[in-house]
């Protein structure tokens, strides 16, 4: 559904064909080789993606040609900076199908976005005894900010248990929802399992209970077409650097009518309307939530990253990533010593696994020799690891639009070599 909506919204544009070799040329870091002449195989895209030249250039361009603060200067650079910065807000609103640019609040990343939401929603809505539901799928950044509200406001966290096959069972949600459930926070795409929960169904069910919904789209943003209106989520967060943009920039989306009744987050410049020595009045949405000088260049770069993504037909992009992920899944599961982590749906962008008798850290270290970047460990998801019984964590290969079947082939060779080292 979402995918179709995203492409339909872009009709009329001539899309750039999805040629991976030409895409790879856009990313200067991908041409780096080790001392053996092996180019980097970047399979840690869930941690952060590489950046296309246009994003890197946007940063340099800002600092070289019009470095100025936003919403302040009356000189030309200030105007240009403000236009470019606000341009990202419009692009982002368009990208996730928000009603208006004002529904996008810039932050320094998805983590800050979740912390801000926990704090301002908590301040406005949470009473002692209220409940917040989070799933066991969540990244720590979608757990700890809510846990911090427990001590601060006397609420209670209820965990939505993951099934053995990694599924989120809606009947468990039924059991968890009570009149006291103020909020449900969950991930659009698991950074460990590559699993996409039934996002719309979950939101609909929570809403019939009068429960607010926060969707963590940090992982999903670059891989899944997102339509906040279609999803009907109340809030959604994301970050630039997992979607080919710079680090230090992120956002949260909120329905306008909700944002308007939420208190400010940080105090400082921009977020206020009038200030007297002992009081202030908060600014309008969205500036109410954006105190101080933002990471201007990074947010401008975020906008360029979105343009970069949107020049491709989303369906073609998804198809390419699906193909590589499926190829990886088949290649890895054909090796007798590899066990894939469960994924109840088609895997999206992520394949996690264990190698018989080998600790994930040893695997990640050994494949480095072939210039392959994998991730090993808990991936900031300790409750998930505990539930699915991975006491040493997992090895994770996570994919982006520039990865190829050849990357997977090289991974397989490197894994075989790693296993050999330990057989000696």
């Amino acid at each position: 559904m979402g995918r179709v909506a995203a492409t339909a919204g872009n009709k009329g544009y001539l899309k750039r064909p999805l040629e991976v070799s030409s895409i790879r040329n856009d990313f200067p870091s991908l041409s780096h080789c080790n001392s053996n002449g092996q180019s980097i195989v970047w399979l840690d895209n869930s941690a952060t993606t590489q950046k296309p030249r246009c994003v890197i250039n946007a940063l340099t361009d800002f600092y070289t040609n019009y470095n100025a603060n936003v919403h302040r200067g009356y000189y030309e650079w200030g105007q240009r900076a403000t236009e470019a910065y606000e341009g990202t807000r419009k692009r982002l609103a368009d990208f996730i199908h928000a009603d208006a640019a004002e529904e996008i609040i810039f932050t320094r990343g998805a983590t800050e976005a979740l912390n801000a939401l926990a704090e301002i929603i908590g301040q406005r809505y949470f009473q002692p005894g209220d409940e917040v539901i989070v799933t066991e799928l969540e990244h720590h950044s979608n757990q700890i900010p809510w846990q911090m509200q427990q001590t601060k406001r006397g609420i209670r966290i209820k965990g939505w248990r993951l099934e053995e096959d990694g599924r989120l069972d809606l009947s468990r949600l039924e059991e968890l929802l009570t009149p006291k459930t103020k909020l449900l926070a969950f991930s659009h795409l698991s950074n460990v399992l590559g699993f996409i929960p039934p996002v719309k169904d979950i939101i609909r069910r929570a809403h019939t209970n009068g429960t607010l919904v926060v969707v963590d789209a940090a992982q999903a943003l670059a891989h899944v077409a997102i339509d906040v209106k279609d999803l009907d989520c109340d809030f959604l967060v994301g970050s630039a650097h997992k979607a080919y943009g710079p680090t230090g920039a992120g956002f949260f989306y909120g329905k306008r009518k909700l944002l308007e009744i939420l208190p400010p987050y940080h105090g400082g410049g921009t977020m206020m309307e009038t200030v007297e020595i002992d009081r202030f009045t908060p600014a309008e949405v969205p500036f109410r939530f954006e105190a101080g000088t933002p990471p201007i260049a990074d947010i401008i770069g975020f906008g360029v990253a979105i343009d970069y993504l949107r020049q491709f037909d989303w369906e073609a992009l998804s198809k390419h990533e699906e193909d590589v992920v499926q190829y990886a899944e088949n290649a890895l599961s054909s090796l007798s010593y590899i066990h894939l982590a469960p994924c109840p749906t088609r895997r999206t962008a992520v394949v996690s696994f264990l190698v018989d008798g080998l600790h994930p850290h040893d695997i990640a270290s050994l494949v480095c020799d072939e210039n392959i970047a994998l991730r090993a460990g808990f991936h900031c998801c300790q409750p998930l690891m505990k539930r699915l019984r991975y006491p040493n964590g997992l090895v994770r290969a996570s994919f982006g639009l520039y990865n190829t079947r050849e990357d997977v082939d090289r991974l397989v060779v490197a894994l075989e070599r790693a296993v050999e080292v330990f057989k000696k």
């Binding site: 270290s365 808990f378 330990f422």
Partner: protein, 176 residues
């Protein structure tokens, strides 16, 4: 840099068949070390009599580097007086954490850990057991039942942040 510099045969052998890899029946001291970032956990068990480490063993789980280092540690420290072993362990930790530190005397098989020092991200794997040992020296076995609560240092997860004030300000000399 090739990670085979780290995975020396000696380490692979110790990982495959670790020495003293069991719990002591009647330890006089024990402590748990945990690296929350990767899940490695090692418990070091000691039987100290007449101020001497009569027996040392370890249990737990971890990567090859972590287990091999623990195994090498037990071979090295068993039989030393508690004071000598403590000094020795501190010397080894300093050497692992700091490429400019002096090499401990009679390195022996520990020389195999030389390669690990070139991989800062993995040094914490090699130091975990040694931190747990130092903590065990201060923990008579009976009081160790809830040691999980105090096991990590905050900066790297090694050792303990509360080793009787030896590591102040969350610094455990882990190098992170």
């Amino acid at each position: 840099m090739n990670s085979l510099e780290m995975y020396r045969d000696v380490l692979l052998a110790h990982n495959e068949q670790p020495h003293h890899f069991y719990a002591l029946l009647k330890p006089t001291h024990a402590a748990h070390g945990h690296n929350p970032l990767c899940g490695d956990e090692i418990t070091v068990h000691l039987r100290i009599e007449d101020d001497r480490i009569q027996e040392i063993s370890f249990t737990g789980q971890g990567c090859a580097i972590c287990k091999a280092s623990a195994s090498l540690m037990t071979l090295r420290l068993e039989g030393q007086t508690a004071a000598d072993a403590e000094k020795d362990a501190r010397g080894v930790l300093a050497w692992l954490n700091d490429a400019t530190a002096t090499q401990p005397d009679n390195l022996g098989e520990l020389e195999a850990l030389l390669g690990v020092r070139k991989f800062p991200m993995r040094v914490k794997c090699a130091t975990l057991a040694w931190h747990a040992f130092l903590k065990a020296l201060t923990r008579p076995a009976t009081s160790d039942t809830d040691n999980r609560n105090s096991a990590s240092c905050g900066c790297c997860g090694n050792g303990s942040s509360s080793d009787n004030g030896k590591y102040t300000n969350g610094s455990c000399r882990c190098g992170s």
